[in-house]
Symmetry: C3
C-alpha cells in the first residue's frame, strides 16, 4: 500500500553525460542508465537546450484521482534553453522496467518561462546531465489507487 | 559577523522520501529531518505536485535591508505541477531549531510558470524528495543586520 | 570530436558557500573553485536573490549552429528571488581555464517567472550555493563546429 516513507540511501557514483543534437531526451537517458547498470537514478543537474517538447500541466481546482481531462497538453517546437530538469527513474514493481519521471522548465525568447511534466523532448544543441546512481534503496514505482499515477512505493511497506 | 564563506563538507547519506496527498510540505520535510537525525540538509531533487501554495517575491527597485512592504505575497489554490524545489535547512544559531528555506517553481495549465520564496504548501498527488545530509559543516542560520533576513553564518567566523 | 558520452565519476566533497550583497555571481563562484582547487564543479543547490541580471534565450524556429542574431539578450535590474540556478564549470581544452555555464530562473513581483542562459548577475541579499566537486572525470569544454558553442568533450574520445 502507498504510504509516506523516508529511506536512507547512498549516491556513491555519478554519471556525467552529454547528449547530442537530435537525440531523444528520454531514450538518451534510458540508454545511459542501461549502459551503466543503474537501477535507480536521480538527476542532480541538467543544463542545455531542447526542441519539439511536449509537456502537461494540471487544470486548476481539480482533485485526486487526476483524470485524463484534468491535464492540458502543450506542444511547442521551440527551441528553448533548458533552465531546469528535475526527475528520477525507478523500476516498475510490475516488470522492473525503469519508469522515468521528468519535469522541465524552458526559457523563451521573451524572457518568460514555460514548463511542466515532460512527455517528449529532443536535444537542440546539447544536454549535459549529471545523474546520481541511488544505491541501498528498495523503492519501486507502482500505480496508486489514490492518485491513479505511478508513485514511489517502498517495497518493504 | 556575516561574511562570505566557502566550507568543504560531505554528503555521505541521502534520504529518499515520498510525501502523500494533503501532507504539509514544511511539516513533512521537518519530520524527515527529525526522524533521521539530520541537522543540516539540502534538497538535491524534488518532483511532484502542490496545492494551496503561498509564496513571496520582492518588488523591483528595492534595496537592502528588505522591508515587509518590499515583498508581495501570492496565494493560489492550484493545484500545480512542482517543477523545481530548491532549498535547505540549517540550525538557528539562537536555539538550534531548523530554519527551512525553500524556493518553488510551479507549472500552470497555460504552460506558463510561477513561483517564489515558499511560505506554505500542501502536497497534491505526491512529492518525491531526495534530501542530502550535510556533514562536516559548522554553518548556522542567524539574522543579518545587513539584510534583515536569516542568513547562513559560519560559526568559526 | 564531439560525440555523446556518459562517464562514471565521483562527488566526494561538496563546498557549501554564501555570497554577500554586491558580489558578482560569476566571480564569486570562480573564486570558490580556485580557493578549493576544484577543477570540475557542478551546482547541486542554489538559493538566494539576484539583481542586475543579464541573460539570453534563443529565438523560436532557429537551427544549429546558433548564430549571434538567434539569441535575444534581456537585462533587468530586479531584484529577483533566485528560484533555480543550474550549471557547471569544466576546464577549457585550450587553456585549462574554467568555462562557467549557468542557467537561472528568477521570480518577479507578479508571481511570474523569467530566466535564461545567464551572462551576468550581482548578489542582492544572499546566494547560498552547494557546489559538488567532480573527481575521476576527464571531461573538457571545447568549441563545437556543429553548435558553435563551448560543449562538453570527453578527452579520451
Amino acid at each position: 500500500m502507498h504510504k509516506p516513507f523516508a529511506e536512507a540511501a547512498k549516491i556513491d557514483e555519478v554519471i556525467l553525460s552529454r547528449l547530442m543534437p537530435e537525440e531523444d531526451l528520454f531514450a538518451g537517458l534510458s540508454k545511459i542508465a542501461r549502459d551503466h547498470g543503474i537501477e535507480r537514478g536521480v538527476i542532480l543537474s541538467a543544463i542545455g537546450s531542447l526542441k519539439n517538447v511536449v509537456f502537461v500541466n494540471v487544470r486548476p481546482h481539480i482533485g485526486i484521482p487526476v483524470k485524463t481531462e484534468d491535464m492540458i497538453q502543450i506542444e511547442d517546437t521551440g527551441p528553448f534553453e533548458l533552465l531546469s530538469l528535475e526527475g528520477n527513474f525507478f523500476p516498475s514493481q510490475e516488470d522492473g522496467e525503469p519508469v522515468v519521471h521528468l519535469h522541465a522548465i524552458l526559457g523563451t525568447s521573451s524572457g518568460s518561462v514555460s514548463g511542466g511534466h515532460l512527455l517528449k523532448a529532443t536535444v537542440f544543441t546539447t544536454t549535459e546531465i549529471l545523474l546520481g546512481s541511488i544505491t541501498g534503496s528498495s523503492v519501486y514505482k507502482a500505480k496508486s489507487d489514490l492518485t491513479q499515477r505511478m508513485e514511489l512505493l517502498l517495497s518493504r511497506s
